[in-house]
Symmetry: C2
DNA sequence: ATAGCATGTTGTCAGCATCCACATTAACTG
DNA sequence: CAGTTAATGTGGATGCTGACAACATGCTAT
């Protein structure tokens, strides 16, 4: 639906030309630096040298902007983790581990987006799109888990619990690893080591 | 520091008498129903039939109110889980499992408070108090983990990782179990079953 | 050219946080 | 018991914000 203008308008146009995408980019930047609460549509408009209500054309209100960010974030996150699974080779257990690791890494590498999708005030506004993407991801993951069960040390654990535990671990790791309060308070904490340890414990290999 | 008035002022007083505590209670109520973003000091003042700037005497601003809520929440949460450990008897492994289970349950039973302490915009304002409480909890938990290591199936795992994994699991479970988007999207999900399953997996018993 | 549409602008309004001067009460002090 | 002081609450002013409405501009297709 988003129009791609193949022109490069260096002159000062009446039309901004790419406001929607730049609004999202600027918003993500602000969120990364100052948090969701500090986000202001008017401030964004000022930053982009645009009138205070120009954003209305693209996002009905603040919740709508955050909702759009959430949608992009979920798609990016889930394709990233699914792709990581495919890149991990043919061994189902390795694929599953790669998926969990990639998903955690995505959160660490995309602090601002992670903060948005984990914010209840945002997820409350989630539309059908997001829910369908999440449902599809559940199906995909269940298959991956079933495929890997034979190679795990605890093959008898029900798939739903394994999946839930994976989601919980990912969300928890995202919360802990991106929150300065935890990082400051917890024992010396290297994100990669923690992720590896948790993946090992979540999906232990046989050998 | 909080004064306890032993009077019951049924008449309409100039002084409210207990504004601070009632502000917190009303705020928690609003957060539970509409989320942190919907919180407004002026609306709270209206609800309590008090002038719009009365809250200033008790909380310099909104962040200050949320910070106070966070402090109370952390103390309540951590004493609840520590107490659950003591109540679980003498077996160190059972104590540790009881702690983890109680901590997760606290989040489910105190949705609003959980949402506050997991909100980055709030935790960013955490003061020395909160940090000291968290540090003390780490010490307490490390001891519990060390005591339980002999009874677990994986005694060789470093204490810090076990602790981190526990925190991650608790925070993640809180996020997942209290967020309607997850509850709606995930496979049929009973909080108690999930908690038990996760605790079993986190701290497996020998037998 | 011109009608229609997407996009951006200016103007306006209510709600909110924050600050300030002032009012009232409770607690302390001699 | 009287007078002082600190704590608490009031009312108004200011500036920022989100939201809406009416208008302006430029692209595109007929």
């Amino acid at each position: 639906m988003s129009v791609a203008y193949d022109v490069l308008n260096d002159d000062e146009n009446y039309h901004h030309g790419n406001l929607r995408d730049e609004l999202i980019a600027a918003a993500v930047d602000v969120i990364g630096r100052e948090g969701v609460a500090a986000l202001s549509l008017r401030a964004l408009a000022r930053d982009l040298d645009v009138s205070h209500s120009a954003p209305t054309r693209h996002f009905k209100n603040k919740a709508d902007l955050l909702s759009a960010i959430m949608e992009e974030a979920y798609e990016d996150m889930l394709t990233t983790t699914v792709d990581a699974g495919y890149l991990a080779g043919d061994n189902p257990a390795h694929r599953l581990r790669a998926m969990a690791r990639a998903c955690m890494r995505w959160h660490v590498d995309n602090r601002a987006l992670s903060e948005v999708i984990r914010n209840p005030d945002v997820s409350r506004t989630a539309g059908r799109n997001v829910k369908e993407v999440l449902a599809a991801f559940y199906i995909h993951s269940s298959r991956a888990i079933l495929g890997a069960q034979g190679q795990s040390r605890n093959p008898e654990r029900p798939v739903e619990f394994v999946y839930l535990n994976m989601i919980v671990s990912v969300v928890g790791a995202a919360s802990v690893l991106t929150d300065p309060l935890y990082v400051e308070t917890l024992p010396a904490l290297d994100a990669d080591e923690l992720i590896d340890d948790m993946v090992d414990h979540l999906f232990p290999l046989k050998d």
